[in-house]
Each structure stands twice: as C-alpha cells, then as structure tokens.
C-alpha cells in the first residue's frame, strides 16, 4: 500500500522549511514548560508512621524500625561528615532503622518535585546556590517545628536540654516569627581576611578604626598591590555584608533589626548612609574596576597570589581555598573597622551566626526520626566528628574543645571570643530573596562608582517598600 501526498508539489524544500519555522516558533518559549511540574496532588499518599515508645534513650519517641531519608548538599563541606559520622550515630541508636542517604549539588532541583507531590525526605541539608527558599517552605507549613528538639534532653547529659548545649543565637538564627524551624549547624564568623605572612613581611597591622584603615590601604597601594576587592560577578553580597556590618557598628544593632523588619526608611538610616559613603570611597580609590567582572574564586585566587591584600568573606574561606593557598600564607581575620569614637559598638564587634541550614520535613513519613537525627548531630560526638572531617567549628562548643583549628578559623574563633556580647546577625537576605538581589545590584553600582550613597540607600529602600506592600510575600519579624 503506497500513500502519496495529494499534491506532491506542496512538499518542496521551501515549504518544508517554512513549516519547520512555524513549528520551531511554537516550540520556543520553552520556559512555558514551567507548568510541567504540575500543581496538583499536594495531599499525597504519605501516611506518617506511628510514634515509638518514649524512653530515656529515646526521648522523642521515634519508631525504632522506621526508615529515615537524609539529603545532604554536597558542597564545601562534602557529604563525608554525614556518611561517616552522623548516619552511623543514628544507626547506632536505632539499629533496626534504615538510613537512606542521598547527596546532591542542586537541592531544589532534586527536592522541589518531591515537596510538590507530598513525598519529601525526612531530613534535608538545604544549602548551596540552588537551595530552596526557607521563607516559602515555612509559609507553606513544610517545615517541622523544632521546639520539641530544643527542649529534649541532650544525648550526652540527660539533665541538660539540647538548647543549652549550643551557642547563644543558634535557635534565633533558624527561627521564623519566633518559631524555630531550621537548625544552623556551623559556626560562621564574618570579617575581612588578609595574609598573615604578607602583613608581617611588610610590617602592616590590621586596622581598628577608619583612619587606620585608610592609612593601611594607602600603604598597600603604594606597594603595588590592590588593597581591597570583592567579586562583583557573583558575590556582591560579600560586600553588602561589610557595609551593613559597618552600619551596625556605627548605629547599633537596631539598624539591622529595622532592615530585617522592613521598617519604613530602614535603609535610609544615617548609619547605613555613612557606611555606604565610606565604602564607596574604598571602591573608588583602593580597588580594581575589573573585579566587577570576576567570580569569587578568581578574586580569592588573586589574594592567594598576593595580588589582593584584603578580602571580605566568612570563615569558610580558608577551607574553600585550601588547595590554592601557598604554604605559609596564614589566613587571618580582622573585624570590619569602626568608623569613629562615637560608634555605638566597640571595634571588636562583628557579625557571626550559625550557618549551613538543616530542616526536618513536617510532611515526611517519619519527622520524629528527622528530629532524632538532629539530636544526634548536636551530641558531642556528632559535633566533634563533623569538625574533624570538615575542619569547621559547629554550634556545639563541646565538640570543638581541644581541636587544633587551622590559622584562619583559629583567628576567627579568637575574634569571636574577643567580641564577647557584641555579636550580631542579619536575616533579610534569607527572608526576602528579592531584597538580597536588589542589595547586590545596588552594591555593585555603588562600589564601582556608578551611583553615590544617597542613590544606593534610596533604590534599596524602594524595593524594600515594594516587598512590604506585596501581599504574596510572607513577612517575618524578629
């Protein structure tokens, strides 16, 4: 049976091409495929397992043979700490339970569909470039309230609650509108990093106030080294962090609280303006215009090559640069310098927080198991094991005792100790991603000389006001 087209002439080359063009046109806005990740079925068929019997060893009442699924972000800290330390700890406590392990570099890509279909894993390390929006997760009731965990007796000392074994501020860092939902596990200190060797060789000392800081930058510049720089291409937030830290030191911690709470005119507070003006000058005189086109790894590498002297970052920097750091480089941290004697906070004050977020899915099969996994993580053995594997301190001080940290982390831990009570944090970037984006863009505009401090605060304030008015965005307070 042969089928011939009725009008063979209709199918010459050009018609085919033209038709192909028409089809191509239909297939193009591939982004229209967004909808493919269906919006239906959220209730799912997820029966939660019944609780087990509570006992001294099992204060949360975990069902002993219920499986638990653990998803780890395989980034700077790797996954070894989970497979070698925490998961065996859970297995030890509950030998009958199966621990399923999965590691990924793109958390949201892997998990978004699972949340949408109502079948999320019990325990998630939500971190990295593709982390899921914590704010959206909380607003949707996807996260398990951790109050029960914090009030449970700790693994090592049943007379002590878990909340009393962690550094102050840990629970607040993971709280949304006063309710704890996220466990931030790694102690993180922010500041400006330099090479101890470079400073020693040149007889430079870290600056405490602004006058010293400018003098230091001038001296470095005279040496032919770029004094200060951050990567504009993808890490502008390292710099808004510096500007806001500086603002907090000038005007007190309420400056940041107002920003987080989206108060009217929060960004236009005098302290923010002063800090922005000061740092715009650093950008104009003591940095390099080409850094706007570089990624964080590029600028960090240049610091390792002694081409950049000062670089703002958190204390993960030393571990991140491990393989590029020359011998004897000696990472050291200095807190963002004070502005003047009339600053509200002392020169030692700094931003520190708990970082690297973990949560338990409220709608998973075995949320109690997830909580118990966290309790094991927060035990002395769990924290110590983590620190030994990844060389970073956790929020459990008992776990870092006696551990010989590399020079950078040792210096940030010393700075944290010196800061005493003058430690603060900010939250708006995790709560309102849009505001983070705007702050990044505006920071590049400011630091690379396209706008001044007034325009800087004005444009971010405008976005903050818009978010405040946007009814589709869940709001948070602290």
């Amino acid at each position: 049976m042969s089928i011939t087209p009725e009008h063979p002439a209709a199918l010459d080359r050009r018609t085919v091409l033209r038709r192909a063009a028409a089809v191509g046109m239909l297939a193009t806005p591939a982004i229209g495929l967004l909808g493919a990740c269906a919006t239906s079925s959220n209730d799912g068929d997820n029966e939660q397992v019944a609780g087990g019997t509570k006992s001294e060893k099992n204060p949360l009442g975990v069902k002993e043979d219920a499986a638990i699924e653990v998803v780890i972000f395989n980034g700077g800290y790797g996954e070894k700490y989970a497979t070698d330390v925490h998961e065996p700890l859970y297995k030890k406590a509950f030998p009958k339970a199966e621990v399923k392990h999965q590691a990924t570099q793109a958390v949201s890509t892997v998990l978004q569909p699972r949340f949408a279909s109502g079948n999320p894993p019990e325990f998630v390390n939500n971190s990295g470039e593709k982390l899921m929006d914590f704010g959206a997760l909380v607003a949707d009731g996807q996260l398990q309230d951790l109050t029960e965990l914090w009030d449970a007796p700790s693994v090592d000392d049943p007379t002590k609650k878990v909340r009393d074994t962690v550094v102050p501020g840990t629970i607040e860092a993971g709280s949304f509108n006063g309710k704890p939902y996220v466990l931030y596990y790694v102690s993180t200190v922010f500041g400006i990093w330099y090479s101890g060797k470079l400073f020693k060789d040149n007889g430079w000392a870290p600056a405490k106030n602004w006058e010293e800081f400018i003098a230091l930058l001038t001296a470095i510049k005279a040496k032919g080294i770029t004094p200060y720089g951050y990567a504009g291409a993808n890490a502008a937030y390292y710099q808004w962090n510096v500007i806001l830290t500086h603002a907090a030191k000038i005007g007190g911690v309420d400056v940041l609280k107002n920003i987080d709470n989206l108060e009217d005119g929060a960004w236009q507070q005098d302290a923010v303006k002063q800090a922005a003006t000061a740092w715009a000058e650093v950008g104009a005189k003591f940095s390099d215009k080409s850094f706007e086109g570089l990624k964080h790894t590029d600028v960090q590498l240049r610091q390792n090559q002694y081409k950049v002297a000062l670089y703002p970052s958190g204390d993960w920097l030393e571990g991140e640069q491990k393989k590029d750091t020359p011998a004897g480089f000696d990472y050291q941290l200095m807190p963002v310098p004070s502005m003047s004697a009339s600053d509200k906070l002392p020169a030692t004050a700094l931003r520190a927080t708990a970082g690297e977020g973990y949560f338990v899915s409220a709608k998973s099969k075995n949320p109690k198991g997830g909580l118990e996994y966290m309790r094991q993580m927060l035990s002395k053995e769990g924290a110590k094991g983590f620190t030994e594997v990844v060389k970073a301190p956790t929020v459990v001080p008992a776990g870092s005792e006696g551990f010989a940290f590399p020079p950078g982390v040792a210096s940030s831990q010393a700075a944290l100790k010196a800061a005493g009570q003058d430690v603060f944090n900010l939250y708006f970037d995790g709560w309102y991603k849009e505001l983070d984006t705007e702050a990044r863009t505006a920071t590049n505009e400011l630091m690379f000389g396209r706008i001044n401090a007034d325009a800087f605060v004005e444009r971010i304030q405008k976005r903050a006001d818009a978010i405040k008015k946007d009814s589709s965005v869940a709001k948070f307070k602290r």
Partner: protein
Amino acid sequence: MRHGKYPFVIGFLFAPVALYVTFVIWPYAQAFQISMTNWRGLSAPQWVGFDNYRRLLDDGAFWKAVQHHGVLLLALPLITIAIALFFAFLLNVGGKSSGGQRQGVWGAKFYRVVFFFPQVLAVAIIAVLFQMVYRPNESGLINGVLMKFGLEPILFLVKPNLALWSIIAVLVWQAVGFYVVLFSAGMASIPGEIYEAAEMDGASKVTLFFRVTLPLLWDTLQVAWVYLGIAAFDAFAIVAVLSVDGGGPDGATTVLAMEIYRNAFVYSKYGYASAMGVALFFLTLTFAALTLRLTKRESVEY
C-alpha cells in the same frame, strides 16, 4: 486507494500527537493557568486573576528585558544574516569560474567546516569559553593581549553600554556557521546558467550578489529571519552563564527568560514567572506572524 486511508493516518499520528499534547500543549495551557495564581511551588495555588499581569506593567526589570529583546531582534538577525550571506557567497560563488561552473574561494570546503564548529558546541560551553575571552584582566584572551601592549583592559561585560553588545557578539559568533551552511545549500540550488548568463552580460560580483543570488535566496532568508528572531527571544543560556550578576550590571543584559528564571527559581514566585512566560509567548507569536506576513512575496520559480 482512498479506502482505509484515515484510520491508517490516525493510527500513525496517535502516539506523536498524544506525546505532543502531554508534554508541550498541556504545560502551555498550565502556564496560563498558573499565571493567574500566586503559586509558590509547594502548596496549592490560589487564584488571583490578572494581578500578576498588572504587576508586570510596573516591573522595571521586565520592561528592561523587553527593551533588550527589541535590540536583539534588530541586531541579531541583521548582523548574522549579513555575515553569513557574505561568507556563503564567497564559499560558493565568490571564486573563479572554471568550465562554466562557479566556484568558491580557494579552500572553501575547509572554511565551511570551520564555520560550522561553533554550532557543534553546547551553548553552555560557548558561554564558559567566552568568559575566558572577555575576562577583564591579564588572563583574558583579548585583554591579555591588550595589556601586553600596555593598553587599558576593556571591561566587556562590566561597562553597562558595552555588556549587551558583548553578549550579542557571542550570539552572532555562534549562529553564523549554521546560516552559512543553510545559505550555501540555498545557493547550490541556484542554476549555474543564470550566473553564466549574467556574467556574459558583464555583471560584476557585486551585481551578481544583489541581482541574482539575493532574490533567488529569498525563501531561505525569510526562514533564517524567523529562526534568528526566535533566537533573539531566548538568549537565556548565554546571559545566565556569561553576564555579570545574572543579567547585570544592573540589568543591562537581562532578558525575559532570565527574569522568569529568577522569579521562579530564586524568588519562588512561580505564578508571576508564568505570567512573564505567557507574555513572552505572545511576543514570540506576534513576531513570527508579523515576519511571515511582511516578508510574504512571490518567490521566483526556476
């Protein structure tokens, strides 16, 4: 013969049509639905009517992206087609004629392969390659050379008025090879006698190009224009990987797909992102319809 034709055709079409409807048409329809909600990707969406579209009207980033598509829509097809036509002409009819047969310049076969290379590379790889090319310091391909001569580096992706053109240059570089091949195929089907006749009448190469090649290539050009126009509505991969700060500096290189990506996967505003997707859909549709209509003219039969 006609007997049993339709069941046969339907039988063959069923599977592909079903697949197409499930994986293309249905998601499109869903995008329309989602664009009317405030879905954040997790729990059930709430209906908000045309709210998202109203919001689009005063979203600066959205309009900036649309404006960039305007620039791309003019620049990308014009530049690409001009370069591709020039190369294709040289490769096919630009050389000497031997035995009455027009030939390309010496080494044409080799060049044809070389021009096609960029087409073989994945877009993401091209973007990463051009990161190296455009790098603003001494390790960049272009700036490394400039700085060797003691010149100031050119901040390709950083200067707001240069960034978009740097992106366009990459898009053109990537596209030219394919259109050289497409136009070559078109030129190969133009009968040699026409050239011969024209040459006998004393036509120069320039005249040959404008009076013979171009008119006889009209259909192919039209197709190229539509394809490139559609490509101008995309450009996502290059912008996402290559540009500073994701479509920056300060949105100077952003495109709609970039804003859609940001709203959906960074801000978790799937509803709003879908509204942008729908807007993009209509923009593309309008463009294609307009182009096909405007360029419609009698093609020369030979």
